[in-house]
Every structure is written in structure tokens, then in C-alpha cells.
């Protein structure tokens, strides 16, 4: 091992071995080595309680919701709506009707762009994003701007990967109708000063959407305290199933917004002449939703809350600091992005070895990391690299795994004789 871990001091805040026992995927071997899963920003592994809940739902309450008069359907509806309440509580939203289930972060952003955007953004208006957005928080706004004749503005970041707040504030004007930014950068791990960004946007009368896909797994947050108008996240990045995500929207916005998809479940009454829509959230949930996905997301939230976000945050902060320092000690390794506040991920280059080659070698040692542009090509361009290798953490990761990562990176250098 290239470095010595300090597992005992980390274990004080959270019993990581106990956590790991909840995740059956973590006991796998990959190419004969124990799996070291460090691609949690892409998706997280699932705890037994979530897997079991999915199975239970399909056995004991498999029915469509909001329509059946029989017991199975009543059970499914109750569980589905109980999950919505768990999400409301988790986000600190005021009303349960402010929680819309969607497929994931991407769909949530598209919903706001299509529904709020198309009815509120016009020619000459501006939409402000930042230089560190995931493609999912760039492309829907580009499409909207193209359609409506609006302009997309981009707030810059510095060489460390931190947003330049004064530049962001300068770009805000009465023309700015909507501001959309990520809470935590998926590519660099930067935590943005979201509270200040939201306040500044509101001072100019702009509506704010926060992409919290990378924040929700790592940071305790409260939508009322943030005062954001919309917030989106994906269930699969917080130990829930894929295919389910959440759009939070302030009640007055969701009420005023037109539906974006038509179909069953989103109506009050339908005639061939006129359809009246259901109030939110049903207005935005046309068709049979991912019922069991939502239910299991509720279970994932219960699971997280059994530890408490503050404990998870403390543990992850120590783990991340350890990872950053261990990686920095490896000669030839260069961190990409050194933000003031970091959560979740560390991006790096190993000499001039291409990140994909790093990823391939690590995989042979059972270490799973992400290599490439992380669906954030403009971020890569800004940092002057074609892509990076990225290790991203969950609270089931342990310092020993950081040591394995660093040792395998040293092996990678040997393969490349660099």
C-alpha cells in the first residue's frame, strides 16, 4: 500500500463496516479483486432494505394507483403517497403537493424548461447557468432559448473550479428570467454558494432552479431555507432505484404552470371539447408512474435518515479530505479542480495517461471509477483537459479503499512506464 490509512479515526463518526453489510453489491469480486466502488456520482449501490422493499411491493401491493377500489390498489396508493410525504419531509418542503415524481434530474429540468420556460420565457429574455453544469442543465435551456428567442448566459468559474460570484452577480439583470445551477459539480466536486446565488437571483426577480443531483446524497438541505423555486434530484444517486426522481417546485409556480404531458391521472375531467387539469402534483404526473420506484425511494430516504445527514456529511468530509491528501501525495497526479468546498468527488489526471486508460487498468484491480468528460464537456474545456479520472464517494466507502485506489494508480503508472 502506498499510504497508511487512518481508519480508526474515521470510524468514530460512523460505523462503516456496519453500513457496508447493508449493501450486498459491495461483497462482489471483480477480476478476482474485491470491488472498490468509487463511481457513486454516477449511481450508488442499493442497500438490502431498498431491494427488499421493491420485492415486497411487487408481491404485496402490485396494482395501479389513484384508481382502483380494491385493497391492493389502496395499499399501493397509500405507499406511493407515503413516499411522497417522506420526500417532502426530507427536503423540508412546506406542502406535499410541491413534490412531483419524475424519472430523474434530467426529466425534472426538462419539465421546468418545457412547462415553466415555454410559458414564461420570451424573446430577449435571458437564462443564466454556470460554467460547471452537467449537460442536463445546459441542453434543455439551449433548446428553450432557441425556441423562444431567449439568450443563454454562462457565469464563469476560476482555475480552482470555484464559481466567480461577482461575475455571476454581474450577469444578473432584469432581463434574467430564470437561473439554473448545480449545487455540487458532478465533475469537480465544487460546492456552490447556493444561498447567496439564490438571493442574488431573487433580487433581480429571476426564478431559480437548483440541480441537487450531486448535493442530496452529501449535504443536508432544506428547500424553504434555501428559498429556491425549483429543485431536482435523482433517486438512484441516494441509494434508491433508477427511474425515479423528484422535482420540488413552490406551490404558486406549480399551480400556475401548464401541464407538459397529457394523459391519464393528470385530469379533473375530460370531454372532447375541453379538459380540466388536476392540481399539482398530479397535473405533472401523466400516465402510470414508477410506483414501486417511488415507494423504494421512500425506503432509501428512511435508510439515510436512520444515520442522519449530519453524520453522513461528517464522515464523508473526513473521507474526502483523506482521499484528496492521499491522491495529492502520488507523484505525477494532478487534481483537476481544487474548490474551497468539496463534496462527493475528486477529479484528477495521472501524468499524461488518458483517463480511459487509467479506468481500464483500475478496473482490472476491481476499482471502479469514472473516466471521461462526465457529461460536462464545457467544464472539461474550461479546465483545459479532454476528460478526467474521477473518484466519487459514498458513506459506505472507507479509507482502505482510498489506499487501494492510490496503490492501483501507482500500478497504472508502471503499466505505462511513466
Amino acid at each position: 500500500m502506498a499510504t497508511k490509512h487512518r481508519g480508526s479515526s474515521l470510524a468514530n463518526s460512523l460505523d462503516v463496516e456496519r453500513v457496508r453489510r447493508d449493501f450486498p453489491a459491495l461483497t462482489q469480486k471483480i477480476h478476482g479483486h474485491p470491488l472498490v466502488y468509487l463511481d457513486n456520482a454516477a449511481t450508488t449501490q442499493k442497500p438490502n432494505v431498498v431491494i427488499d422493499r421493491l420485492r415486497k411491493s411487487y408481491i404485496e401491493e402490485c396494482a395501479n394507483i389513484h384508481r382502483g377500489v380494491y385493497q391492493l390498489s389502496e395499499r399501493a396508493t397509500a405507499s406511493h403517497e407515503a413516499a411522497r410525504e417522506k420526500v417532502r419531509h426530507f427536503l423540508g418542503a412546506e406542502k406535499i403537493s410541491e413534490i412531483v415524481f419524475v424519472r430523474g434530474t434530467t426529466e425534472g429540468i426538462n419539465l421546468v424548461a418545457q412547462s415553466y420556460g415555454r410559458s414564461h420565457i420570451g424573446e430577449g429574455d435571458e437564462i443564466l447557468i454556470t460554467a460547471m453544469e452537467h449537460h442536463s442543465n445546459i441542453v434543455p435551456w439551449q433548446m428553450l432559448c432557441q425556441e423562444r428567442g431567449a439568450r443563454l448566459q454562462v457565469a464563469p468559474m476560476d482555475d480552482n473550479g470555484d464559481l466567480i460570484l461577482p461575475e455571476y452577480e454581474k450577469l444578473l439583470s432584469p432581463r434574467t428570467k430564470l437561473v439554473a445551477f448545480t449545487y455540487v459539480s458532478n465533475a469537480l466536486g465544487t460546492v456552490n454558494p447556493v444561498k447567496a446565488m439564490i438571493e442574488a437571483a431573487h433580487r433581480q426577480g429571476a426564478v431559480v432552479l437548483v440541480d441537487a443531483a450531486q448535493a442530496v446524497p452529501h449535504c443536508e438541505l432544506d428547500v424553504q431555507e434555501l428559498d429556491c423555486d425549483f429543485l431536482v434530484f435523482s433517486g438512484h444517486k441516494i441509494y434508491g432505484p433508477t427511474g425515479i426522481g423528484v422535482l420540488y417546485g413552490k406551490h404558486r409556480f406549480l399551480t400556475a404552470m401548464p401541464p407538459w404531458q397529457g394523459g391519464g391521472d393528470m385530469i379533473m375531467s375530460v370531454t372532447f371539447e375541453k379538459t380540466t387539469y388536476a392540481p399539482p402534483p398530479a397535473k405533472f404526473e401523466a400516465g402510470t408512474p414508477d410506483i414501486n420506484g417511488a415507494i423504494a425511494l421512500g425506503t432509501a430516504i428512511d435508510y439515510i435518515e436512520s444515520f442522519g445527514m449530519p453524520a453522513i456529511e461528517r464522515y464523508e468530509a473526513e473521507l474526502l479530505a483523506y482521499a484528496e491528501s492521499a491522491l495529492t501525495k502520488l507523484p505525477g497526479l494532478r487534481l483537476i479542480g481544487r474548490p474551497k468546498h468539496r463534496a462527493g468527488a475528486v477529479s484528477f489526471m495521472l501524468g499524461d495517461i488518458h483517463p480511459h486508460d487509467v479506468g481500464t487498468v483500475l478496473d482490472r484491480y476491481g476499482v471502479a471509477i469514472r473516466a471521461g468528460h462526465h457529461c460536462a464537456q464545457p467544464t472539461m474545456k474550461r479546465m483545459g483537459v479532454p476528460g478526467t479520472a474521477r473518484a466519487s464517494f459514498a458513506f459506505y466507502n472507507k479509507p482502505e479503499e482510498v489506499d487501494t485506489l492510490v496503490a492501483c494508480l501507482a500500478e497504472t503508472q508502471k503499466v505505462f512506464r511513466s
Binding site: H31, H356, D357, T360, R364, A371, H373, M380, G387, V415
Partner: protein
């Protein structure tokens, strides 16, 4: 870690560090661009073709060691070959790196391209090794109508489920 050494052979690392024919070709009369949108790798292949023979060839682009070395070695192998010979070499190379059920390729005929035989043990890297070749193929057929932009997404489908895990 034999498979890793097979993949990253010295000759591959050499071509990656010192890519041959790595420039724009002023005399090019055919060219094509290829990209892998999933990983961001991209390559442009330039050809100077006369009387059905590749008189000169070069490439530019960015990618991993496998993609860059493959492009470099490809240019040095097909230079001077007829278009038909280049197509045949591509076919053989493709057989080798995809490593089908009964791969039918002539390792000897592939010569130094045999260095890429280790790729077949890494299904997700097949697209890296073949990107330049698909792009060469597109450049050779550039004058034909309705040329589909080269995409390597097909490779991924072909290798789906072919897990190398033991």
C-alpha cells in the same frame, strides 16, 4: 495482470507517445471525422488517393492510448496500399479486436497490427481501437452519396453481454 500487458504492449505505448503521420495532410483529397460521443474521443483521417491507391495518409485528434496508437499504426500500415487492400485489412483487424465466436483473421497478414489482439479481452475498449479504422473507411467512401457519419455505437451493441469477467 497479463491481460493489461497484452493490451498496453510496448509498441502500442510507443505509437501513443510518438504518433506517426500525426498532422494535417495538405495534399488530402479525401477526409472524414469520427467521434465517440460517449467518451469524447475524436479523430480526423486525411487521405491522398490516386488511381485507387492511398499515396499518403495522416490523422489528427484526441483520445486514449488505444485510440491514438491504433490511428497511428493504421496510417503507417495502409500507406501505399490500394483501397481494396486497406478495406481488407480493416476487415481482418475488426475481426481480431472484436474476437467473435470463431474469429477468422490472419494474424500473420495483420503484421504489426497483431499488437492489438489484446483488445478483444476488453470489450469496452474495442470502440477505441476501431474508431480510426471506421473513420478511414468513411474517408475512403467519402465521394459516395449519403455517407452515414461514422459511429462506433454499433460496436457496443455487438459486445453487449460479452463480459470478460472470470
Amino acid at each position: 495482470m497479463n491481460e493489461l500487458d497484452d493490451l498496453y504492449q510496448e509498441v502500442i505505448l510507443d505509437h501513443q507517445r510518438n504518433p506517426r503521420n500525426f498532422a494535417r495532410l495538405p495534399t488530402a483529397n479525401h477526409q472524414a471525422e469520427g467521434a465517440n460521443p460517449l467518451c469524447g474521443d475524436h479523430v480526423t483521417v486525411y487521405l491522398d488517393v490516386k488511381d485507387g491507391v492511398i499515396r499518403d495518409i495522416s490523422f489528427q485528434g484526441e483520445g486514449c492510448a488505444i485510440a491514438k496508437a491504433s490511428a497511428s499504426m493504421m496510417t503507417s500500415v495502409v500507406k501505399g496500399k490500394s483501397l481494396a487492400e486497406a478495406s481488407e485489412t480493416f476487415k481482418q483487424f475488426h475481426q481480431m479486436v472484436t474476437g467473435g465466436q470463431e474469429p477468422c483473421f490472419d494474424l500473420e497478414a495483420l503484421g504489426k497490427l497483431a499488437a492489438f489482439s489484446g483488445v478483444s479481452a476488453f470489450p469496452v475498449r474495442v470502440k477505441c481501437a476501431s474508431l480510426a479504422w471506421h473513420t478511414l473507411n468513411a474517408a475512403m467512401h467519402e465521394s459516395e452519396p449519403a455517407a452515414v457519419p461514422p459511429t462506433i455505437l454499433g460496436e457496443i451493441g455487438k459486445n453487449a453481454g460479452k463480459n470478460t469477467e472470470k
